[in-house]
Every structure is written in structure tokens, then in C-alpha cells.
């Protein structure tokens, strides 16, 4: 069934993506990620010595600070910080630098739908720019479910508000490996969900349909990420 979206995209089409690394000079790693009009800037400082109180000193600690475009930080920002922290903790190799803290600061430059996925993508690129050791990267996508059951990807803010429900999904990026196999329970590794946050009511079948669409889109996003990270020449190392 053909769907008319206001900006003329098809159901599965993402907005134009733009990614740049090393945009801030003082930060150890930085990235900006634009998805259409949603723009997020991420900066990474670390590893710094010492962990916060109540954190395990045998592992590296990750701290996320989320700054909204306007207004003070409230519960929404705290929730995004927690989701981002737990997502990044699962992709970083925390045992390489124990008893250190890596801070990731997210600044929302413009918000037009799919904000959390954009921030997760920006944070991953910033971590690569800073040289933090990671197992794999994370690619994030937003899927919206409309009342009649069709799913659209990467909604704008208006579309998010009109739709019945939406889901933010984060998958590991696709692996190009010389060795074949490595699948768990009959599914390849990049089909596993790192993070899933849903909003609004949807049926269980709609959710599984979102997962399929999300996986297909994450393959495209992984390719874009790989190309943009391979092209960018690295700068000379920055002093701590």
C-alpha cells in the first residue's frame, strides 16, 4: 500500500544522512550526525583517571551528559542519559582501561524526530574518533507504526506525533568477516537487539514487523557508517 509522506519519501526511505568527525578541537573525540533536520553533536573526553562513587573500579566507567536544545534538564534527559549509558556500556570493552571514566556529552542542535537514534549514532562515531576500544558499533533507527499497521522509517517530528506508536531500535553494525558462521541460535549477530524503547500501543506482530524493517535499515546505515569512517583521514594525535 503506497503511503504519502509529507516530504515525499517512501515508507522505507531514510532522510539524507551526514556525518563528520573531529569537529571540536579540545575534545578527545567528537562527531556530528545529521539525519534530515535532526542534528546532534557528540563529544568524548576520556579515558580520565578515577571512577565515580559506587561504580566498579575493575571496569572502565561511562558517563553520559545530555544537553537539550532549550530549557533545563528534566526527566526526559535523565532517561536518555541512562539509555545511552547502558547502550554504550554494552559495546565498549570495559576491561581494557579499568578505573577510568569516559565522558560522552551530547548536545542537541536541532530536533526534528528520531532524536535518540541520531544521538546514539553520533556517540558511536565520536567514540571511534576518540579511539575508545569497542567490540562493535551500534546503529540506531526509529520505526513508526500507523493505525492501519504499516511501518515507516525515520519519521519527522510531525509524523512521530501523528502516528499511533513508534519504536527506537539499536542493532550492532554488520560484520564483514573472512570467517563464515558466527551465528547465534540460527540468527546472525547483527539481528540481535542492543536496545529497544517503544512508545504507544502496538500489537506484538507490528513490533516484530518493525524489527524486520529496522534490521534492513540498519544494514544500510552500517554501510554508510563504514564508508564515512574509512574515508576520513585521522588528524595527528591530540595531547591529553
Amino acid at each position: 500500500m503506497e503511503v504519502d509522506r509529507e516530504d515525499g519519501r517512501t515508507q522505507n526511505q531514510l532522510r539524507p544522512l551526514a556525518c563528520s568527525r573531529n569537529v571540536l578541537h579540545r575534545a578527545h573525540g567528537s562527531a556530528s550526525w545529521y539525519q534530515g533536520d535532526t542534528k546532534v553533536l557528540a563529544a568524548v573526553y576520556g579515558p580520565k583517571a578515577g571512577t565515580r562513587k559506587n561504580e566498579n573500579p575493575e571496569k572502565a566507567c561511562i558517563e553520559v551528559i545530555w544537553k537539550p536544545k532549550t530549557g533545563q534538564t528534566g526527566k526526559l534527559e535523565k532517561e536518555y542519559e541512562m539509555i545511552l549509558k547502558r547502550t554504550l556500556q554494552s559495546i565498549c570493552i570495559l576491561t581494557v582501561n579499568p578505573n577510568t571514566t569516559t565522558s560522552i556529552i551530547i548536545q542537541v542542535v536541532n530536533e526534528d524526530g528520531a532524536l535518540l537514534p541520531c544521538a546514539i549514532n553520533a556517540a558511536c562515531v565520536a567514540l571511534v574518533d576518540a579511539g575508545i576500544p569497542m567490540k562493535h558499533l551500534a546503529v540506531a533507527i526509529c520505526c513508526c507504526v500507523a493505525k492501519s499497521g504499516y511501518v515507516i522509517l525515520d519519521p519527522t517530528k510531525l509524523e512521530e506525533q501523528k502516528m499511533k506508536s513508534f519504536a527506537y531500535l539499536v542493532f550492532p553494525n554488520s560484520v564483514h568477516s573472512v570467517l563464515t558462521g558466527g551465528s547465534v541460535q540460527g540468527e546472525p549477530m547483527e539481528h540481535g537487539i542492543i536496545t529497544s524503547v517503544t512508545h504507544g500501543i502496538m500489537s506484538v506482530d507490528d513490533y516484530f514487523y518493525c524489527l524486520e524493517r529496522g534490521r534492513a535499515a540498519s544494514a544500510k546505515l552500517s554501510d554508510f557508517l563504514r564508508r564515512s569512517l574509512q574515508q576520513h583521514p585521522t588528524d595527528s594525535s591530540k595531547a591529553g
Binding site: 559506587n54 528534566g74 526527566k75 526526559l76 535523565k78 532517561e79 541512562m82 539509555i83 549509558k85 547502558r86 547502550t87 554504550l88 556500556q89 554494552s90 506508536s165 519504536a167 539499536v170 550492532p172 547465534v184 541460535q185 540468527e187 549477530m189 539481528h191 540481535g192 537487539i193 542492543i194 536496545t195 529497544s196 524503547v197 517503544t198 512508545h199 504507544g200 500501543i201 502496538m202 500489537s203 506484538v204 507490528d206 513490533y207 516484530f208 524489527l211
Partner: protein, 302 residues
């Protein structure tokens, strides 16, 4: 190599409590390989759940819910307010979740717990988006007066599965809620009628018949831990701190998915694991529905 030898040699010499503190993950894995947990529950079973309605006598609606040792107290206060111009015949609900220092040794006074604003926002989003309560029922006089319901949920004992217990206590408090009787006085303002005035007053109460909210599509939730190939339902705080991958699924009484929340975690969730979690949650929703209905019918008998 050193570590596995150390725990292997020590497991015969060290006491159970010491082994549990020193090698918590190995302690749990020894139990999981026999499909049981240290508190003798099978992997898919939740802890004992109880609901007590009307725990706070001065509130318009309240409930105390316990899942195992996790205890939450929810209370609702109603106030009359002027509705906004965009929605002149809709009331408003404000939900807040607090974790006072009594609930856990990690919460200190003056420094709010990290989990508190997150659970508060999740709770408020779930209840408002599930469509359990129609805001139009909270209207009194269209455009002039509507009810504002303030719900506070206090955590009294935090032993894992905080969101599940908080949602259960909030839902139970809404089902216990009794809207106070009000009438219009001469200035056109709404006044509360107390018990004695009801018989004597000449003024007609505005909402004599409509005292309880109708709840449809009540949401119930279950938190599960994913660890290797195991799925543990309803974790305690100890299990949550050792195995960090949590999935919270909220289903409503018509089996629609209200929320599937997995905030990161070292274990990736594949489709088969999610289908198993949803199946366990469906059974749990039926259990919780029976428990809630028993509590409500218990109150009505009085």
C-alpha cells in the same frame, strides 16, 4: 586460569555465603544449570504478589503493592482546576515516583537515586499512552472545571523489578479511586461536599452518580533478565546487579504491546528470546489480573 582454579578449589572449602559474595556469577550459574534460582523459584516464575487497597485513608485512592520484598505505596489526591483552552473537557493526571532513602542502602538523602526519574517517566508514559483512563471522565463542567489527579508512588523497599511493582500499585490505586462529591456554590465555583453536608445541603451535587473511574485496557508488566540462554522472570536486586541485561514488557488486557523496554545490556536479544519473554509476560498478565480482581472484590464486600 587462576580465577577458575581458585573458585573450583574453594567451592568445596568455602561457606555458601562467602562463595555467594566472592563469586556471585558462578554461584548463580551453578543454580541456573539446574534450572532453579537461589530462592528456589523456577526460572519463569515471579515472586509472590499481594495488593492492599485503601492503604492511605486520607487520600482519595491508594494501594500498597508487594512483589516479593519490593514494596510500593501509591496514593492519589484530586483537585479541581480549570482545563486548558485546547482541551476544555479533559482533566489531567500527574504521576510522580519517589525513592526515599528508606528503600535501599544505595540511596542517600539529598542525592536522588539514578533510577528514580527514569522509572517516573516510564510510569507516566505507560499509564497515559495505554489509554487506561479516559481524561474526559475527569471533566466536571466543560471549559470551567475539571479534575487534576496527583498520583505519588513511593518506593518503600527496593528489591528488583521496581517498574513492575510501581505500575501495579498505580493501577490498583486508580481502581480504588473514589472521586469526591462536589457541587456548584453561588459564585459558580465548585466546592467539595463533606459527608455531613450531603444530606442537609440544598445544592445539587454535580457528580453524584459518577464516583469511580472506568478502567479499560489495564497494563501489566514483567521484567526479565537475559543471561546467555536463560531467561529469568522477575529478578531480585542481587540478580539485577550481577546480570545486567533487563527487558521490561508491558502488555494490556487485550494482549497489545504497550511497551518493550530494553535499555542496552551486554546480551543481545534475538527474536526467539523476545518471543519467549512475551509468552511469559502473557501468563503473568493473567495472574496479575486475577490478583487485582480479588483485591477489588475484597474491598467491595466491606
Amino acid at each position: 586460569m587462576g580465577l577458575s582454579n581458585a573458585s573450583g578449589d574453594l567451592s568445596t572449602e568455602v561457606e555458601v555465603d562467602a562463595f555467594r559474595r566472592l563469586f556471585p556469577l558462578r554461584f548463580y550459574e551453578k543454580h541456573l544449570s539446574e534450572s532453579i534460582r537461589p530462592d528456589a523459584r523456577p526460572l519463569g516464575r515471579a515472586r509472590d504478589t499481594t495488593i492492599a487497597l485503601g492503604a492511605v485513608a486520607s487520600a482519595n485512592g491508594s494501594a500498597l503493592a508487594k512483589i516479593g520484598s519490593t514494596t510500593m505505596l501509591a496514593a492519589i489526591k484530586m483537585e479541581v482546576m480549570t482545563p486548558s483552552t485546547e482541551t476544555p473537557d479533559e482533566g489531567c493526571i500527574a504521576i510522580d515516583f519517589h525513592m526515599p532513602p528508606i528503600c535501599s542502602p544505595i540511596v542517600r538523602p539529598g542525592r536522588p537515586a539514578e533510577a528514580a526519574p527514569v522509572v517516573s517517566k516510564q510510569l507516566s508514559d505507560t499509564i497515559l499512552s495505554s489509554g487506561m483512563i479516559s481524561l474526559k471522565e475527569l471533566c466536571l463542567v466543560s471549559g470551567k472545571a475539571a479534575w487534576m489527579a496527583y498520583m505519588d508512588v513511593y518506593c518503600l523497599d527496593a528489591d528488583g523489578a521496581l517498574f513492575d511493582t510501581a505500575l501495579l500499585s498505580a493501577v490498583a490505586a486508580f481502581s480504588h479511586l473514589e472521586i469526591p462529591v462536589v457541587s456548584l456554590n453561588d459564585d459558580g465555583k465548585i466546592v467539595l461536599l463533606s459527608e455531613e453536608q450531603e444530606g442537609m445541603s440544598e445544592r445539587e451535587p454535580v457528580n453524584k452518580e459518577k464516583r469511580k473511574l472506568t478502567l479499560c485496557n489495564i497494563p501489566f508488566s514483567l521484567t526479565c533478565i537475559l543471561h546467555k540462554n536463560y531467561i529469568l522472570a522477575d529478578p531480585t536486586a542481587e540478580e539485577e546487579s550481577i546480570m545486567e541485561t533487563l527487558v521490561t514488557i508491558v502488555l494490556d488486557s487485550s494482549s497489545q504491546l504497550v511497551s518493550l523496554y530494553k535499555p542496552g545490556g551486554p546480551v543481545l536479544a534475538y527474536t526467539s528470546a523476545i518471543q519467549d519473554c512475551i509468552a511469559i509476560t502473557r501468563q503473568r498478565v493473567k495472574e496479575l489480573q486475577t490478583i487485582l480482581e480479588e483485591a477489588i472484590s475484597g474491598m467491595e464486600v466491606d
